[in-house]
Amino acid sequence: MKLKYLIPFLIFVALVALFAYAFRLDPREVPSPLVGKPAPAFALPRVDAPGTLAGPADLRGQPWLLNVWATWCVACREEHAMLVRLAREEGVPIVGLNYKEIRGDAELDASRLSPQEEREAALLRARTWLAQHGDPYRFSVLDLDGRVAIDYGVYGVPETFLIDAEGVIRYKHVGPIDEQAWREVLQPKWAALAGAKR
């Protein structure tokens, strides 16, 4: 008989536990099917030397980060100092994928620009930003129309991919990298990859 009264209580406790767990999940976070797959190849013009095309193949043989950014992206600005620190102090190779520098900016009307003008404007903005706030990138490339970002399943900026020495995506971080995200999530994964290489 006692059990009969205990059952609703146990169901209640189980539901509370389930909700407590579920409230900590982020329903907006899209799990990437690309983790464990080779990083999609691309060849895009470099911000510092637009005549040169660069891509993931240039980073073979070492683990690295692919950071999707844009100067109009507020969260990217927040994480920028962190990236600079990672590159300078921890020697993490970071490649920047500049995402729709002009078209993505809600304050600009890119439809009035010719492709050449758009490219020039994007280069100017990206270079100015990096010159002012430090350049954490081995190199940064221009993804003016966001096509390469779609290949990486990017659905917002910033996003950062951890890619191993063989060019396989090991982890995807959505949102800005702050001290805590680096220390608790990314650094251990990074250390495991960097350690395995040596």
Partner: protein, 172 residues
């Protein structure tokens, strides 16, 4: 709007005014929502119709309760343009769907495929409904048993007497 035509003043005029403002707002918003500023339909209306149909089955990743055909998010426009381009290039609906799933996962599909990780999602409602029906059936059966306890000989005789109208405890 007939009331307006009769030139009623006061409340009628006010109502008409409010109605006009509301209508203007609604139509204004409707136009704003239907005019995609960046997604360009390709020339072929058949392709466009297929793209829209497919677009309605694909979930926008930015505003996740809208399809990419409905959403005004930048990324949704980009993805719709991808859908259009690929359909125009002769790809099938299935190929375009596979292209997006490879990049964004099953998450982009409003109708997730049936596989090990989604079995609970597909079967769950039916399992719960079946469990509910079973529980209800058990409760009803038990109750029908409990409500009909066998009468003792004495009780039966008493009942028979009552039925024959020989009851001692007559009412009123």
């Amino acid at each position: 709007m007939r009331r307006g035509e009769k030139r009623e003043s006061g409340v009628g005029g006010l109502v008409r005014g409010i109605a006009a403002v509301v209508a203007a707002c609604c139509f204004g918003f409707a136009w704003a929502a239907e005019e995609p500023p960046k997604a360009q339909p390709v020339g072929d209306p058949a392709i466009e119709a297929r793209a829209l149909k497919l677009g309605h089955e694909l979930r926008c990743l930015v505003c996740q309760n809208q399809s990419i055909a409905e959403s005004n998010a930048e990324l949704a426009h980009d993805l719709m343009n991808q859908v259009r381009e690929q359909l125009a290039a002769g790809k099938s609906e299935e190929e375009v769907r596979a292209y997006l799933v490879a990049r964004y996962g099953d998450f982009v599909l409003y109708q997730p495929p049936l596989k090990a990780s989604t079995v609970a999602l597909w079967a769950g409602p039916f399992v719960l409904a079946l469990a509910g029906v079973l529980a209800l059936w058990r409760v009803l059966r038990r109750r029908s048993r409990e409500e009909m306890p066998a009468l003792s000989a004495e009780e039966a005789a008493h009942a028979q007497a009552l039925l024959r109208g020989e009851g001692k405890e007559e009412r009123s």
